[in-house]
């Protein structure tokens, strides 16, 4: 057991920190995931790739870093520490790429993996639908085989980055008559195809972090099926497992910068903070626990290359901590809390989405109950 950076890690971290200080444009600091400043964000993403700070967990054969999860963790921590935005290609890197590695044909791997790494392809995800939240078996976006193309019609929601994306990992219903989970097909869809329309989806914050995607007679070559026709559910499970793999570090990084602001706010308003000290410390402690647990769960990933279910645990606890933290901060504002302070008010509203996006807390609890505690299914 060694709970501090090794010499190599410490050096890597120090070099990275210096690199960020030099390269991060001031306009991007603290931007979070908010839309805007797209050209700058693209530039920043390419700079990260060029400097070798992208794809460290990918196998070397696809141009990745060969699975250095510990270093990946350091990158996510340091980016968060600097309040720097993530790479725009996060869905390609964290979800589409790993899924293509597992289920893709040689052609598919050749066509996409390298380009994802080099930030030449931005990806988005088309899983959720208005009538099917967490329940993939209720997907209604149709894919009908016509000769050697699938004709796709339907609507997806909650798709981040869709307005920027070149490609989409899309779960479709190819056989409505098949048994539940058997009629799904997983497609790689070119977002520049005719018939694809992206509309921003406004959230309660007033911002639009997500999009709706409408597909009208979109033609997708049959060669773009990932896995088997009718095997979309299995492929989608691989994606979801990877969604929460290194998510832990990104999440705790976000929380870390929030907690630092909360502590500064409390230090600047000592009297107002007095009644909430225990609660403030509780969130700091929770953050340390989440960081440590993210490191602890790396063991599994390093050993098997497949993420364990710890990601669900971290996402669960993180989302609730994030919500409590913003509420606490607003308590410290005193009577001005009825006004929009532009920071914590936004965060408080945005944090309500934390227990919904990337798996609702209810679904995550089901997953932990079934896969970790081996309790009988609740459905």
């Amino acid at each position: 057991m060694e709970l501090q950076d090794t010499a190599e890690e410490a050096e890597y971290r120090a070099r990275l920190r210096a690199w960020i200080a030099e390269h991060l444009p001031q306009e991007l600091v603290g931007l979070g995931t908010r839309t805007g400043r797209l050209p700058l964000l693209r530039q920043w993403s390419r700079a990260l790739s060029d400097a070798g700070y992208v794809g460290l967990t990918w196998p070397a054969e696809y141009g990745g870093g060969g699975g250095r999860y510990a270093l990946e963790g350091i990158i996510l921590e340091e980016l968060a520490r600097a309040d720097a935005p993530q790479h725009l290609g996060t869905i390609g890197l964290g979800m589409a790429g790993p899924t293509i590695m597992v289920h893709g044909t040689g052609e598919q791997k050749a066509a996409h993996l390298q380009r994802i790494l080099q930030a030449e392809e931005i990806w988005c995800q088309g899983f959720s639908e208005p009538g099917a939240g967490s329940d993939l078996a209720s997907v209604r976006t149709r894919a009908e085989l016509r000769g050697d193309v699938f004709l796709v019609n339907g609507q997806k929601v909650w798709s981040s980055y869709a307005h920027l994306a070149d490609w989409c990992i899309l779960v479709t219903l190819s056989d409505p008559d098949a048994a539940r989970y058997r009629g799904l097909t997983y497609l790689l869809v070119d977002m520049h195809s005719p018939g694809v329309e992206v509309r921003p989806l406004r959230q309660m914050t007033g911002d639009a972090d997500f999009n709706e995607i409408f597909f009208t007679d979109v033609e997708v070559p049959a060669a773009n099926v990932l896995g088997e026709v009718g095997g979309g559910w299995q492929v989608a499970m691989t994606t979801l497992l990877h969604e929460r793999a290194t998510l832990g570090f990104a999440l705790t990084g976000l929380l870390d910068s929030g907690i630092r602001r909360l502590l500064a706010l409390a230090a600047a308003n000592r009297d107002a903070a007095e009644p909430w000290l225990a609660q403030i410390a509780h969130e700091w402690i929770q953050l340390q626990a989440l960081k440590l647990t993210a490191h602890r769960s790396l063991g599994q990933l390093d050993r098997t290359g497949m993420p364990g279910p710890e990601g669900s645990v971290i996402k669960l606890a993180w989302s609730e901590s994030s919500q409590r933290m913003t509420k606490l901060a607003r308590q410290l504002l005193g009577e001005t809390a009825v006004l929009d302070d532009g920071i914590w008010n936004y965060q408080q509203l945005r944090s309500r989405g934390n227990t919904i996006e990337a798996g609702t807390s209810e679904i995550l609890r089901n997953i932990v109950a079934e896969r970790v505690l081996q309790l009988p299914r609740s459905r």
């Binding site: 950076d5 510990a70 000290l277 410390a281 340390q288 645990v313 932990v368 081996q374």
Partner: protein, 349 residues
């Protein structure tokens, strides 16, 4: 960064678990707790022979020459089975104050120790089961022979006594040295309680899951009801987070790292995780969980004992917050944060 225990450490844990399963099966717990001494003194010699009383004692003094991380594993496992002998008292609480020359006697199982850090009331765990007591006062630390009256603990597996101070004292530290030792004893106490709480909570959660898998109501296993499974998941999450903190605090102590935050943080999280888990699992067991015959109430009482012996978690949190705010005024508290950030601060300074 590497969060894994070594193979030797994993073996030690397995060994401890096997020993406890054999010598203190859960089924025997009630009988033991209700017996006259409250524990089986014959286990002490066995523990000594297994080397578990001299884990961190140097080899030349008759110990194994290992460290607190190994002791941490044993404290957690003893907690898992509510061991009622003075292991926590001797190794978890008193050890850092015991004079080198007497560590061999402890290691051989000849002298048992406890700690008195209760200035006015002089409450001492296992007072009637030990020979010597380390007494912590504002400006001095000394040891006295164990003597006094038994008191009724809320936990029959962790008995208490009120220490009577006789004239026979051995001074262990004074002045700044005493203050430093007191601080070390306090960190260790909180860390040890956190480990015990994690061990205890893990056992109780396992029983809760087992019951939820087996018991049927309304023609379904109760584990398939979210009103049962989700609280168990919440306990799993709390325990996993508390475990990370408890190992972190133990690692910092074992390595002699300066830190005043990890131990109270781990204690607050683990004590609450233990109490919450016991309460949830009693609820999951329904009426059965409420009976005297179930081992659950023993665990619940221990979890409450831990929470009261260590002091209200929220008061520790308040102290943690005060320290963090001090650092925050002087910039981000990087040097006191978990892994990554903490370490780099050190490396780059």
């Amino acid at each position: 960064m590497d969060f894994r225990f070594s193979e030797e450490q994993d073996e030690l844990r397995q060994q401890a678990r096997a020993f406890l399963d054999r010598r203190l099966p859960a089924a025997a717990l009630g009988q033991m707790a209700d017996s006259e001494p409250g524990w089986d003194p014959s286990t002490w010699q066995e523990i000594a022979e297994l080397g578990w009383l001299g884990v961190s004692t140097a080899e030349e003094l008759g110990g194994a020459g290992l460290g607190y991380l190994e002791e941490a594993i044993l404290i957690e496992e003893f907690g898992r089975r509510l061991y009622s002998g003075p292991y926590l008292a001797s190794v978890g609480l008193a050890l850092p104050a015991i004079p080198q020359g007497q560590l061999g006697e402890l290691a051989m199982g000849r002298v048992r120790w406890s700690l008195c850090d209760s200035e006015t009331l002089r409450l001492v765990p296992n007072l009637m089961d030990v020979d010597q007591v380390v007494v912590v006062e504002r400006d001095q630390v000394y040891s006295v022979p164990a003597a006094g009256q038994p008191l009724t603990s809320i936990d029959a597996t962790r008995r208490m006594g009120r220490l009577e101070l006789g004239p026979d004292r051995e001074l262990l530290a004074t002045g700044a040295e005493a203050a430093e030792l007191a601080l070390r004893l306090r960190r260790r106490k909180l860390s040890a309680l956190a480990l015990e709480a994690v061990g205890l909570a893990q056992q109780v959660l396992e029983w809760g899951v087992e019951h939820a898998r087996a018991r049927e109501q309304f023609e379904k296993k109760i584990g398939s009801y979210q009103a049962v499974s989700h609280p168990l998941v919440n306990s799993f999450v709390e325990i996993e987070l508390a475990r990370s903190l408890a190992y972190w605090a133990a690692w910092l102590l074992a390595g002699g790292h300066e830190d005043q935050l990890a131990a109270p943080a781990a204690y607050a999280a683990a004590a609450e995780a233990a109490v919450n888990t016991c309460e949830r699992v009693i609820q999951v067991h329904g009426g059965m969980g409420f009976t005297w015959d179930s081992p659950l109430h023993r665990y619940y009482k221990r979890s409450l004992w831990i929470q009261h012996f260590g002091g209200p978690p929220d008061l520790h949190r308040t102290q943690v917050a005060r320290q963090l705010m001090l650092s925050s005024e002087a910039g981000p508290p990087a040097s006191q944060s978990a892994p990554g950030l903490r370490t780099i601060a050190r490396t780059t300074r």
